[in-house]
């Protein structure tokens, strides 16, 4: 079971790979769309990469609720 810091670090690496944002800028209160240059298509990539990395299922209906990095970290911690 991953810790909160480990999930954040993993998401930061994923966002860096997909959107080119430096990992240190991927913080809990950051919005994927507004702050991290992750549009709706790239968000699908983030979700698929996170599912594989954290062995979690993130249903399509749930993706719209993951507005910030913190939302995603909490979802993964609760459901992984």
């Amino acid at each position: 079971m991953a810790t909160k810091d480990e999930v954040l670090e993993g998401l930061a690496e994923i966002v860096n790979e997909i959107a080119g944002i430096p990992t240190e800028d991927v913080e809990l209160d950051k919005s994927f769309t507004d702050d991290l240059d992750v549009d709706s298509l790239s968000m699908v990539e983030v979700v698929v990469a996170a599912e594989e990395r954290f062995d979690v299922k993130i249903p399509d209906d749930e993706v719209k609720n993951l507005k910030t990095v913190g939302d995603a970290v909490n979802y993964i911690l609760t459901n992984a």
Partner: protein, 421 residues
């Protein structure tokens, strides 16, 4: 403002080709007679009957940031790089949608064509589907593989709102795009249009398919000598990749902003063969009709023409059929025309050909030099025209014009005309 038959000029050029990462390097290598063809070193190439191609001289990943590059098919990457060069070369510093832009986005268009579109994206993502499952197919697949993707991405880059278009006519696509763009400006729809062609089809499937059509050279042992238009020993085309883009502009608009003008884009001539889905019409009648159309619909004096950048792909039938058409339509005027087959050096870029060859034609007029045709060791007996062989040749002073021919599977014939200023 008159909205009909406005004069169109070329004010910017950009190229990303097997001979260079920009237009100037490509031109230098064309003049030097260098070949961009090499042996394919990928593992998949070993099993193919054709193992040579002309890859771009520079990898687009060295230029575009990774997050952008991974959302673009290789063909769109090429087009974007060439379009950025042409846009800056024309003296534009910001997208038209920027507040500081003096050019209104509603007066700017983009017309970029490709013959096959995002074929490598389609095939690569099919591999992902089979090997890793549906969930792993990239959500960017559709916007990457659609044939209008290069045009749409260039339109986004420069902020074009007058219209973004993608004519598709196999190997005539790039030329058709530039012809379409000329007419957008002529009839008043736009003042500036970014236009060209791109292709990225070096993948085992297209190569196997073209090879099985008996269309490609199998001269695997001599890659640099494989593309040999007009030579007796020619045995098919060599696949190339890359993009060529020009900025076209109404002469009034270009002069008002003090832009450097390379030449006039006189217009286009078009026809279709109604002969065969893939074979050229052997007498050249279809190409001759495109030439006749050019002279009927444009003010262009045959005596002004001093240079033709020929379609000449190095196929046994096509090269000579094109020359027959030029002789039929130009008569004795053909004797003072320097013909260059630059595919001898770049390979055949399919839908990108009209793009890079228009850039070469514009450079030829501007610098008054016709690039050489390499690998013509023994001229075909049926060649009844003045082929520039071996070395580049100076073009005359005064008002001169040049043609760029492009023909595509399906029987599409496009002739573009340019004139010095």
């Amino acid at each position: 403002m008159t909205v009909e038959n406005r004069t169109v000029v070329v004010t910017g050029i950009g190229a990303f080709t097997p001979l260079g990462g920009d237009a100037a390097t490509t031109w230098e290598n064309l003049l030097a007679g260098r070949s961009g063809v090499a042996v394919l070193t990928e593992e998949w190439a070993a099993e193919l009957p054709v193992r040579i191609a002309a890859r771009t001289a520079v990898e687009p990943g060295e230029i575009l940031p990774r997050p952008l590059a991974r959302k673009l098919d290789r063909s769109a990457q090429f087009a974007l790089i060439a379009a950025r060069e042409a846009w800056a070369d024309a003296g534009f510093e910001t997208p038209a949608t920027d507040e500081s832009s003096k050019l209104a986005p509603e007066r700017l268009g983009a017309v970029i064509a490709s013959g096959i579109g995002g074929v490598t994206t389609l095939l690569d993502q099919y591999d992902v589907l089979k090997e890793k499952g549906a969930r792993k197919v990239s959500p960017h697949t559709v916007p990457m593989l659609m044939p209008n993707s290069p045009a749409a991405n260039v339109g986004l880059e420069v902020g074009a709102r007058a219209g973004v278009h993608t004519p598709v006519s196999a190997c005539a696509s790039g030329a058709e795009a530039i012809g379409y763009a000329i007419e957008m400006i002529r009839n008043g729809r736009a003042d500036v249009v970014v236009a060209g062609g791109t292709e990225a089809a070096i993948h085992p499937l297209p190569i196997a398919a073209f090879a099985n059509m008996m269309a490609m050279s199998k001269n695997n042992d001599d890659p640099e000598g494989a593309s040999r238009p007009y030579d007796k020993g020619r045995d098919g085309f060599v696949l190339g990749e890359g993009a060529g883009v020009v900025v076209l502009e109404s002469v009034e608009h270009a002069e008002a902003r003090g832009a450097r003008i390379y030449c006039e884009a006189v217009g286009q001539g078009l026809s279709s063969d109604a002969h065969h889905i893939a074979q050229p019409e052997p007498t050249g009648a279809g190409v001759a009709r495109a030439l006749a159309d050019l002279f009927e619909r444009n003010q262009l004096d045959k005596a002004e023409i001093v240079h033709v950048n020929a379609h000449a792909t190095s196929t046994p039938q096509g090269d000579t059929a094109e020359l027959k058409a030029l002789r039929k339509e130009l008569g004795e005027e053909l004797d003072h025309i320097a013909i260059s087959a630059t595919k001898s050096m770049t390979g055949h870029l399919l839908g990108g050909a009209g793009g890079i060859e228009t850039v070469a034609t514009v450079q030829a007029l501007y610098h008054r030099l016709a690039p050489p045709t390499i690998n013509v060791e023994e001229l075909d007996d049926d060649v009844d025209a003045d082929i520039v062989r071996g070395e580049a040749r100076a073009l005359p002073e005064g008002r001169i014009a040049a043609l760029n021919n492009s023909f595509g599977f399906g029987g599409h014939n496009v002739v573009l005309a340019f004139r010095s200023r």
